[in-house]
């Protein structure tokens, strides 16, 4: 299956306190061409399909390395998880600290809590967070990044474009 991504819409707003440009809304058109022809779906729908097809997965949150939200999808059964972002902000610093343990660069951190688990992945300029049930299949969650690899280059490009615009202005 071939994929062709086109950036359709992006909107940035300037933080009045820091004068930094922050990503506000992103819409990327993902054209997936299979054997039967061309099929177009949005990036959000692509990620949501992945969420629905994975048992025990409650939410997928994709951010840039500073924690600015890019894509967030949540299951219908647990909509309140979309309001909790406390697990996103500390990951960047936790990953940096974990990279200083002498084991190389940190890739993944798995956090198990009483009510749910969070698998966070450091993909350079993009961070991915998978929130699942406490008794969910952690091994399965750890392989989800391979299914998001087709859209990763476009997410990185988008983050870099927004960051360059912010630096220039």
């Amino acid at each position: 299956m071939n994929s062709n991504f086109t950036l359709m819409q992006k909107r940035t707003v300037q933080n009045p306190f820091t004068s930094q440009y922050e990503l506000n809304v992103v819409k990327i058109s993902c054209h997936l061409q299979g054997q039967s022809g061309v099929r177009t779906m949005s990036i959000r729908k692509y990620v949501y399909n992945l969420l629905e097809s994975t048992p025990g997965l409650l939410a997928i949150v994709i951010t840039d390395k500073d924690g600015v939200l890019i894509v967030k999808v949540c299951s219908k059964d647990n909509p309140e998880l979309s309001q909790r972002s406390s697990y996103i902000a500390p990951f960047a610093s936790a990953s940096d600290q974990a990279s200083k343990l002498g084991l190389g660069r940190n890739n993944t951190i798995v956090c198990l809590y009483d009510k749910f688990q969070v698998v966070s992945m450091n993909k350079g300029s993009v961070h991915m967070h998978f929130v699942g049930a406490a008794d969910g299949n952690t091994g399965d969650f750890l392989t989800l990044d391979s299914q998001l690899d087709p859209i990763l280059p476009n997410l990185e490009e988008l983050v870099n474009v927004v960051r360059i615009q912010g630096d220039v202005l």
């Binding site: 048992p55 952690t138 091994g139 750890l142 392989t143 391979s146």
Partner: protein
């Protein structure tokens, strides 16, 4: 602590036509493996398959045996007490 598990997995891997063995826990994480290149890449999926198959008969006392046949190999998956054992076999003589 894991010596008995390692011994059991080694014995299974030495059986004729067995090309690989993966033993994973209820969370899909690898407990032990033999002759598998990247067991962490498939342990989660194997556990998910066993769990999904068990959901077909939720009131059954025994867990089903799942057999996945390919062109050149067969995977037999069984789950007992939260432990999933996957045995890879070659179909070629």
């Amino acid at each position: 602590m894991e010596s008995s598990l390692e011994k059991c997995v080694t014995e299974i891997a030495q059986k004729p036509s067995v090309t690989g063995v993966i033993c994973s826990d209820a969370n899909g994480l690898v407990l032990s493996s033999r002759n598998v290149e990247s067991p962490e890449c498939c342990s989660g999926g194997l556990t998910a398959v066993a769990t999904a198959a068990a959901a077909l008969e939720p009131h059954s006392d025994t867990r089903p045996l799942v057999i996945i046949e390919g062109d050149a190999s067969v995977v037999e998956i069984h789950q007992t007490d939260g432990i999933t054992l996957s045995v890879f076999k070659s179909t070629q003589q």
